[in-house]
């Protein structure tokens, strides 16, 4: 070819296209059937559109066709990692609606269960986050080693490892035996040592720090504006924990602190969860010291247990919320005086925390999107409902 025919246009910058990739619904690290519609420029993310609903069961409609008591086992299936926390929120909302009192021992049992659930959730979430980071299952299995012990307790107390269905309006389903309490004490005693080991494996690891620090920074004002709750919010440095704000159940009796993050990146979300577990251990220690023999369910409520159809809360509405390990788990209930709720709504933290997914991901690499999603901590059962 003659040299003169080479035109100047050939040296122009390359004409590149963006690449649209669907991460999910079948993907190893979308934590279930969640889809991220990611547009990539090379490896850099241009936009992220979350697509959900693959696990949608219309939980709210199912609940509106059931009695109040029969919804309880369905709440287990929302966030199937912490069914006790879901039970707690629902029981709280119904108790608010029907003005039911809860005896002291039941309150203690509830707090113990809720905090054990928090340990289960946080420890496994960190494990999953590390899996997303590419660690080959080691942190997950260490986490599951501890989780198994707590699940054994759940099984002994409620009858099921994950779908506990343990809380009842006005108390809990069954009493906790002293042997079980002793077992919980043992677990709680050993847990800090496990956390130390876990931290030795992870916290200072240079690769983890490289990957997580300054990735997915969530500024506090955006976090508040986007209704982010839970560890994700606190990692951004906003001091808001419903256990402290609402002081529901008997949380005001325990002294515990709320860990707040520094920058609001993935690393802070990881470390805030570790610190939260340490605080949970403190609550558990105090609760196990404070628990006294007594009624585990209010005598007035026992009648509803046998005849759920006789349970008719007065006409009205209630919004009960708890600090579930994922964030604010709220139940909005409207009663029309019949045994079935007229309106039942779940404010699921997994869904609402995802609002900022795109803001966090854009400009980062593909690998970062995965860990940002992992650090937000979603559970599809709760997200899609």
């Amino acid at each position: 070819m003659d040299e003169k025919t080479v035109t100047v246009q050939d040296t122009n910058p390359m004409d590149t296209e963006t690449l649209e990739v669907n991460f999910g619904p079948q993907h190893p690290s979308t934590h279930g059937v969640f889809r991220m519609n990611i547009v990539l420029d090379g490896e850099t993310i241009v936009s992220v559109k979350p697509v959900m609903g693959y696990l949608h069961r219309n939980h709210e409609q199912i609940a509106e066709n059931l009695t109040y008591a029969a919804v309880m086992p369905y709440t287990d299936r929302l966030d199937y990692f912490n069914s006790m926390a879901n039970n707690f929120g629902y029981a709280l909302a119904v108790e608010k609606l029907a003005r039911i009192e809860v005896p002291e021992r039941a309150q203690y049992i509830r707090v113990i269960m809720a905090e054990l659930t928090r340990l289960v959730n946080h420890v496994s979430v960190i494990g999953f986050l590390l899996n997303d980071l590419g660690a080959f299952f080691t942190p997950v299995l260490y986490a599951f080693r501890e989780r198994e012990k707590i699940l054994d307790i759940f099984e002994a107390i409620s009858g099921s490892r994950m779908m506990c269905n343990y809380f009842r309006f006005g108390g809990v389903k069954r009493d906790v035996s002293d042997a079980d309490l002793e077992q919980i004490r043992k677990i709680v005693q050993k847990f800090p040592a496990f956390l130390d080991e876990f931290e030795a494996l992870l916290t200072k690891n240079e690769i983890l720090c490289m990957r997580c620090q300054n990735v997915g920074v969530l500024p506090p004002d955006l976090a508040v504006n986007a209704s982010i709750t839970g560890p994700v919010l606190r990692a951004s440095g906003v001091n808001y924990d419903i256990r402290k704000v609402d002081r529901y159940s008997i949380y005001e009796r325990f002294s515990f602190r709320i860990p707040l993050g520094d920058k609001g990146d993935v690393y802070d979300r990881y470390y805030v969860r570790i610190l939260e577990m340490r605080e949970s251990v403190k609550i558990l220690e105090q609760a196990l010291k404070g628990i006294r023999p007594g009624e585990f369910i209010h005598p007035k409520s026992t009648s509803f247990l046998k005849l759920p159809r006789n349970f008719k809360p007065p006409v009205g509405e209630a919004y009960g919320r708890v600090e579930s390990p994922k964030g604010e788990l709220g139940y909005y209930l409207v009663s029309d005086g019949t045994p079935q709720p007229w309106r039942y709504h779940v404010r699921s933290p997994s869904l609402i925390n995802l609002t900022v997914l795109e803001d966090l991901c854009v400009g980062h690499k593909v690998a970062d999107a995965i860990i940002i999603l992992g650090s937000i901590d979603i559970i599809l059962g709760e997200l899609d409902r």
């Binding site: 990739v21 990539l40 080691t138």
Partner: protein, 390 residues
């Protein structure tokens, strides 16, 4: 002892002697090659099969699990069961994939992995081909696998595969550079490119016991891990990000071939690291080939240990590590070995360490994004705030 040490050499010689009685010379020559090739072709897949088992066992133990133990005693037949499963699985070619590339890639990827075995000195006098440019041959051949991986990723017609392929090419080419440069000191000291001669040069002491040897070994080993796409450098097949990278769309025997190539090259690079820095088959009491295998398996064990412990790098950090950290260190290492060669007595040690240590420190400081930040966490109570550092 001598007999045990030369067991395989004698066996081959015996066979050739037998053949030489009846057959012409050129057939004996061919037979000599065939015997070596057959030995490698048996040894390499066998190693690969049992490395998969070993990896699963080691990682299992790290994770407080038992690992495979159902097929045979201690799961010893597990690789065979896996092999049968792989062979009988349906071979799926994606719709509109490039069938030729898709078919050829797994075939091509196994070849360089096997070819490397030709220059590996398994024991005293146990090198299949004692090339006088052995190291160069190794580097040249091992870089071919990049092409096969890119063929696989392109031919699959899958976006995950494509991403994986792009990552592979970038990674493989980047890590080749510090890897080769980290070998240069050894070549300078040994004054040869032949693998056997390099081992002989380590008669006085393994190269790894010198400052430049240690630095070179670490650089070489890290690059080797990256070359094999092993954790923590496994971004081309990062499961949590791009499903399985370049072999997302492979099933059955083709997938098995990718797997085989990976494990064979794991063995090959470990063997080369042993040859270059750990004295090869040299060692007291035990037969030379056993020494060699023990050292190689120890390095492979470290790779499994990495896999059981470490998260993965991100693609830009991975490239940064190669170009901004390992490459300058490898260059300085070449300078250090010159210093070592020409200085007398204690000065060698003081000078080498005096150069390597500060330069390591300087490069970590220059790559500030790699150094973990210190974070301060507030623990808010109602009344007072307390801080903890992490």
């Amino acid at each position: 002892m001598e007999y045990l040490d030369q067991l395989f050499v004698f066996a081959k010689r015996l066979m050739l002697d037998l053949l030489a009685r009846f057959l012409p010379d050129w057939i004996v020559l061919v037979a000599s090659m065939v015997i070596s090739i057959v030995a490698i072709l048996i040894f390499a897949p066998l190693t690969m099969m049992y490395l998969t088992l070993l990896e699963r066992k080691v990682v299992g133990r790290i994770q407080n699990r038992i690992g495979p133990n159902r097929v045979g005693k201690f799961g010893l037949l597990q690789p065979i069961a896996d092999g049968i499963k792989m062979l009988t699985k349906e071979d799926i070619v994606p719709f509109q994939a490039d069938p030729v590339l898709h078919f050829l890639a797994p075939v091509i990827i196994v070849m360089p992995a096997l070819l490397i075995f030709a220059v590996i000195p398994f024991g005293r006098g146990m090198t299949a081909v004692d090339l006088n440019i052995g190291i160069l041959y190794f580097i040249a051949v091992s870089s071919i696998s990049t092409i096969a991986i890119f063929m696989a990723s392109w031919g699959s017609r899958n976006k995950f595969s494509l991403l994986g392929g792009m990552r592979t090419v970038a990674q493989m080419i980047s890590y080749e550079v510090p890897m080769v440069l980290s070998v240069v000191p050894v070549i300078l000291v040994a004054e040869t490119l032949s693998t056997n001669a390099i081992i002989e040069a380590q008669s006085a002491g393994w190269f790894v016991w010198t400052p430049w040897g240690l630095a070179g070994f670490l650089i070489f080993f890290l690059c080797a891990v990256a070359e094999c796409n092993r954790s923590p450098f496994d971004i081309p097949e990062a499961e949590s990000e791009i499903v399985a990278g370049f072999h997302t769309e492979y099933s059955g025997i083709k997938f098995a071939l990718f797997y085989m190539a990976e494990f064979i090259s794991v063995f090959a690079v470990s063997a080369l690291a042993v040859t270059l820095f750990l004295g090869g088959w040299k060692g007291p009491w035990l037969p030379s080939w056993l020494w060699f295998l023990l050292k190689a398996y120890a390095l492979i064990g470290v790779m499994f240990w990495f896999r059981g412990t470490l998260p993965r790098f991100r693609v830009d950090q991975l490239m940064g590590l190669a170009w901004k950290f390992l490459l300058p260190l490898a260059l300085i290492n070449i300078f250090v070995v010159g210093f070592w060669y020409f200085s007398p007595g204690l000065w060698k040690w003081v000078g080498s360490l005096g150069i390597l240590g500060p330069s390591f420190w300087i490069f970590t400081k220059l790559n500030r994004s790699y150094v973990p930040e210190n974070r301060v966490y507030r623990l808010a109570e109602d009344e007072n705030n307390e801080t903890v550092g992490a």
